[in-house]
Symmetry: C2
Subunit: 490 residues, 2 copies
């Protein structure tokens, strides 16, 4: 530690890279495009997993596990899916290495697979091939299954958490008897994601649907949540797809309805990934390092003793022991950093970089006065408070910090939604201010693509809560029924 | 349901296969050697994960995540490791598919990797390559990291859970400043596994070390726990390896000691896998289906109502609601199976097949008498008990069931450890009775291999608690200092 990180204003992208490494979250591995998620970063991901997993189970889902590999031919079965996913992927062609006799390890050409296997980029195909065996009648429906897994999409330009060849995610895959039930499921899971983003990550999100052009390969409708980062770029934080009967038809999955008719099954899929780590970091952190909302912080409170003599230390130790156990009884995670190899200032900087929401410093004079110093990571403010009732003060403060981080991000996001009514205005706001541009669009893929080519902005979503509001497309002047949100995006 | 499964005496192997499928635990997938773990099976694995994960954290470990792929060249760096793992593996050679213009999806030959990537069969190499960047001084040690992951070992003959090409596991990888500390860690984790097997899985295990011939590729010592299945075959349920400085040397990982000297780091690795599911099934289950120890059962208590009228049903419902919430307050997982599409007998058979430890049946007459019928899965016994204080009775009974399942397995195991003193006796007991054969062995790989060739029995381990006891090798008559355990094994 000690060395700082690049500031956001100087180079936002470098700031992000510095922060991820300095806060011990992740690093690049020896394998191109693949990251190592370090223990501190993984602990945050584990908290996300635990909270999401509970929400999935509360909404009736169970976990299961499907194969890592998908036979190449499966990708040909759903026409649009193959184009979206089978192009950039890891292909397994052989199943053996051998020593060539000169000490080199080489691929054994006699061990070539008859059919190549693809490392899953997403699992719709292998799962629907499996569901075929699980579904006969309406009594077998719905199937509400989720999988926590690693997936691989061969990316040429990678960034830690945001875009990596291998990443961790969860993918829900559900099967239903009716269109209505499947749509309802896709919408329910979008709301689970949105609520998780706002309540847990403290990241406000816009709920919307993707345009045809940005839709998941194989979906009839892609619902999404879109967040805004501090540099004014949007980040897609989760998607939930209504897949219609596309995969059921591709894999011939039918059921006998209550009325005795044989029908194709309706499907959804939905996922969030370690990309959320990127959203979390970029939404809240500052030039001093990571800022973590308390609900996700592996360490919520760090206590640093300040002493000169062993006697002073022993006195502080006694106080901290009691405080720590009180806090732990309240399910607050606490670290007592009593390392004698580092000075308090070093420790302060380290925990600031790692985003611990609340720091408690206790010195010899505090012990005389019956006080401690509390330092909030989110506001960078300090105050001296009484040792009496401290655990409750801390518990309340963690709640306030969670709220504050959310409201700060919400204000920023709301200040960065700009209504624009001409293409000139569009380009000006995009360059000067960034953020979401709310404007009319003629509904064609062609216009969307032209705008993207000229400005790099894409339609992030058609918000779910937007009102009908007749107007004209800023690009073509053609009529438009409602506004959509454009932005540059990660 | 309804249809039974093959009995153990008829065909043990078929019994296992039937059971895994009928109890909804797992099934074969469309990908050769890869399984689908179904929701009920995965729920058991999740409980194993949760309990083990807590034990790892209680012993100071953190989770992290390392890449799925390992560059081919990494396998050449540790000489014995490559022979153990790089031979049968999934090799990624390309990173793109394309449409050949005639509607076929084919491998794009222009997208060939410069260096092939191996899907990890185990992660020592990629992890030690990473640790090199994490370790400079003794202050960076120990590193106590675990990973939950999928791994792939290309297997020609696969069996659900027991031997699959892809399987799920955890792999701990630790780095230490001294040999003593690393040995202590390897032994500590063996004990964590042994205790987990006995206390949670209710499977008694023998703690031992492997012979040189059976050691992990790259280890100086492999500690293991060995369990006994009902057919008299052994199953290795977990291993913990003292790796010495082999991987530190292969990946040039050194640290500056307190004394200022540059030294190679000492290592351990340890793992258990979804194979434990196989051990669990084969140790306890019977011809009626799965038998689950309560600590691992996703459903610990199932309640089945027996009624003729809606009024009777309503009366039972009221009673069950109270009981269920009392049990849930005690952290007991309960399912109220009030499906009106199935008869009680069907439900009884289904939950018996799925191994639910305790079944509560409540009929109209029970409601009049203030009783219920309790049926234990482990002993197949039923008793009528009072509704008063029922929750506490159930809680106690679950404890008794856990104990009973363990002791039954322990008696069986102990009855199947036979001291043998000649090769004839060895062969006879092996054929007639199976189990562990405790006998003298001359300590040579040659003898071990000859015995294996002739009898298919291998040395499962040299037990840790065995006493010195001079004797002569049953095969060569050469001197031996202590007995080892032979068995046929999964």
């Amino acid at each position: 530690m000690g060395k700082g990180i690049t500031s956001r204003s100087e180079d936002y992208s470098q700031w992000y890279n510095d922060l991820v490494v300095k806060a011990d979250l992740a690093e690049h591995s020896a394998v191109r495009g693949c990251m190592v998620i370090k223990p501190y970063g993984y602990a945050i991901w584990e908290r996300m997993q635990a909270i999401l997993d509970k929400r999935f189970k509360d909404t009736g889902h169970s976990n299961a596990y499907f194969p890592l590999f998908i036979p190449k031919s499966f990708f040909s079965k759903e026409a649009s899916h193959v184009e979206g996913f089978a192009t950039e992927c890891a292909v397994v062609t052989h199943y053996r290495l051998k020593n060539d006799g000169e000490g080199n390890i080489v691929v054994d050409e006699t061990a070539k697979l008859e059919e190549e296997l693809i490392v899953r980029p997403t699992s719709e195909t292998i799962i629907w091939n499996t569901y075929k065996g699980w579904i006969e009648s309406y009594r077998d429906l719905p199937i509400l299954v989720n999988q926590w897994a690693n997936v691989v999409r061969w990316e040429m330009r990678t960034r830690l958490f945001l875009r990596t060849a291998e990443f961790l995610w969860q993918e829900g895959h559900t099967a239903h008897a009716t269109r209505e039930e499947a749509v309802e499921e896709a919408e329910r899971m979008l709301e689970v994601y949105a609520d998780f983003a706002e309540q847990t990550l403290a990241v406000p999100v816009i709920r919307g649907v993707k345009t045809e052009n940005e839709r998941f390969a194989g979906a009839l409708e892609t619902y999404c949540i879109e967040a805004l980062m501090q540099d004014g770029k949007a980040l897609q934080a989760g998607t939930s797809h209504f897949l219609g009967q596309n995969f059921a038809k591709a894999f011939d999955v039918k059921f006998t309805s209550k009325e005795g008719k044989l029908e194709h099954v309706w499907a959804t899929s939905w996922g969030v990934s370690t990309r959320l780590m990127g959203a979390l970091i970029m939404a809240h952190s500052d030039d001093q390092g990571l800022v973590l909302p308390p609900k996700l912080a592996p360490i919520q409170v760090v206590i640093v003793p300040i002493y000169k003599t062993e006697e002073e230390k022993a006195n502080i130790d006694g106080f901290v022991r009691t405080l720590k156990s009180e806090l732990e009884d309240m399910d607050i995670s606490v670290k007592y950093d009593d390392r004698d190899t580092q000075r308090p200032g070093f420790k302060f900087a380290e925990w600031e970089m790692k985003g611990v929401p609340l720091r408690v410093a206790v010195g010899a004079r505090d012990m005389q006065n019956g006080t401690v110093e509390l330092a909030r990571r989110d506001t960078q403010t300090k105050e001296t408070v009484s040792q009496e009732g401290l655990a409750v003060i801390i518990e309340n403060l963690l709640g306030i910090i969670q709220e504050n981080i959310y409201h700060k991000a919400l204000s920023f996001r709301d200040e960065h939604i700009t209504e624009v009514n001409s293409y000139d205005e569009f380009k000006e706001v995009l360059e000067q201010k960034g953020g979401f541009l709310s404007c009319h669009w003629d509904g064609t893929v062609e216009t969307e693509k032209r705008v993207k080519e000229e400005t790099k902005a894409t339609i992030r979503c058609i918000p779910l809560d937007v009102e009908e509001d007749a107007g004209v497309c800023i690009f073509t002047g053609k009529p438009s029924a409602k506004r959509v949100l454009f932005a540059k995006a990660y």
